[in-house]
């Protein structure tokens, strides 16, 4: 069971124009930097990206926006990004805004083989327009459908040839959920370790969900909001 591939270019080899991609990360934390760069290099266009955020102007998904490779973003919070705003206002870019928990749960639903889930998020708001509302135990819920993507790109801290993944701290965020939601899931890792090195009890994403894995390189891991406290 060897899912290791050489590098990011090899990983994105068969991504096609107009496909739907899940891209892990929260803000710039835990994003698949290498895969994004390779997608820019490959120049695929018309992409629909399911990702909590859309990066900043010159990093993360902002790089794909810069090159006008994204047709539609499905996100919960966007816009730390001037180019994003320009494309949105000019009508070049479509945006579907989705409550963050709904987004996370719809990604998870695919990986759990659940075609739809119920959530109270958005009941009575414009998010509910056109959606089925159902009452359970006196509370209203929206029916929301599972997300599936042609490809899911995730970034993990450690991984092995079986595709088992371990994430580090809050860079976990959407990554394990999207890893479960890809028809083809591609994981880039900071540390590709020999099979048997990961403790079976500590694996966040079992390898069955991962189709390709590669050792990433040159991680920038940019910080979006550097906040510190003074040393006393």
């Amino acid at each position: 069971m060897n899912k290791i591939i050489a590098n990011a270019d090899e990983a994105v080899r068969d991504v096609q124009d107009n496909q739907t991609l899940m891209v892990g990360g929260f803000g710039l934390c835990g994003i698949p930097e290498n895969s994004i760069s390779a997608l820019v290099k490959k120049g695929v266009k018309g992409l629909t990206c399911i990702s909590n955020n859309a990066g900043v102007d010159d990093f993360g998904l902002g790089l794909l926006l810069q090159h006008k490779q994204i047709k539609k973003m499905i996100s919960s919070y966007v816009g730390e990004n001037a180019e994003f705003e320009r494309q949105l206002l000019s009508g070049e870019l479509e945006v579907d805004l989705i409550p963050q928990g709904t987004l996370a749960t719809r990604c998870m639903a695919a990986g759990y083989g659940m075609p739809a889930i119920f959530t109270p998020a958005g009941v009575g708001t414009e998010v509910a327009i056109g959606k089925e509302v159902r009452n359970f135990n006196g509370k209203d819920y929206l029916l929301e459908y599972a997300f599936e993507a042609d490809f899911a790109f995730v970034k993990a801290w450690k991984g092995d040839a079986h595709g088992n993944l371990i994430f580090r701290s809050t860079s976990r965020n959407f990554n394990p959920l999207m890893a479960m939601g890809g028809k083809i899931t591609i994981a880039e890792v900071e540390h590709l370790v020999p099979v048997g090195e990961l403790d079976p009890d500590q694996i966040h994403t079992p390898g069955i969900y991962v189709h390709r894995i590669f050792q990433g390189s040159n991680y920038e891991k940019r910080i979006e909001q550097r906040t510190v406290r003074p040393r006393v």
Partner: protein
């Protein structure tokens, strides 16, 4: 009249020992600075952390460790990390005792609008819609009036809603109000030096004043 820190301090009195609390961006974040002594509170950050600690010392920032406002933070002994689905799972399941967040408008039946202004660039609701739809106890921290001087406490929200009938309490620079189940802002406390008349003037929604309204005492 309270400044931002005063509002935070005032809200911090609502914290109870053992509470799990989610703090929104802005004034709510400041509440963490005023947790009363002897009260242990665990902060939940909806990007996937229980037990959020203070900002790191300079030079110790970890790009893999941020809060929902994308700020660098730290963990504390006893912290737990999880994915975004479990994070909102515990929120939806009502395990978070208190959610404190900002608002653009609150209506007298507890509706809240805080994510979208028609005609302006919309950044998104983030986790706000999930939080307000799920939390057992929601306190809004905000200014009583907007920059144009118009009341943010309304009979009915004019902006697109974030959630319906969910706000339990509101703390502004002028006062503390409870949203009654049957509707209406019940005035509980005045900020130091603020008169009932000033609060009345700044409130467009139904304000309920019963008996003497005490001036709050903040230690």
């Amino acid at each position: 009249m309270l400044d931002k820190n005063g509002i935070a301090k005032c809200i911090a009195r609502e914290l109870k020992d053992g509470y799990y609390v989610n703090l929104g961006i802005g004034i709510p974040t400041l509440v963490a600075n005023y947790i009363p002594e002897g009260i242990n509170v665990t902060l939940q950050s909806e990007n996937g952390l229980l037990g959020m600690g203070p900002f790191p010392y300079e030079g110790e920032e970890d790009p893999d460790l941020i809060n929902a406002g994308k700020q660098t933070i730290t963990t504390l002994p006893g912290s737990a990390v999880f994915d975004s689905a479990l994070s909102f799972g515990m929120i939806r399941a009502g395990k978070v005792d208190l959610t404190i967040l900002g608002a653009m408008e609150v209506s007298e039946n507890g509706d809240i609008a805080n994510w979208k202004i028609p005609g302006k660039m919309v950044k998104g609701m983030g986790g706000a819609m999930d939080l307000v739809a799920s939390a057992k106890n929601i306190i809004v921290a905000m200014q009583h009036v907007n920059k144009a001087g118009e009341s943010k406490l309304l009979p009915k929200c004019t902006l697109p809603l974030t959630g319906v009938g969910c706000v339990k309490k509101i703390v502004t620079e002028l006062c503390v109000m409870e949203v009654l189940p049957e509707g209406g802002f019940k005035l509980l406390e005045r900020a130091p030096g603020v008169s009932v008349e000033e609060i009345k003037k700044a409130t467009l929604g139904k304000l309920i004043i019963e008996g003497d309204i005490p001036e709050m005492v903040l230690s």
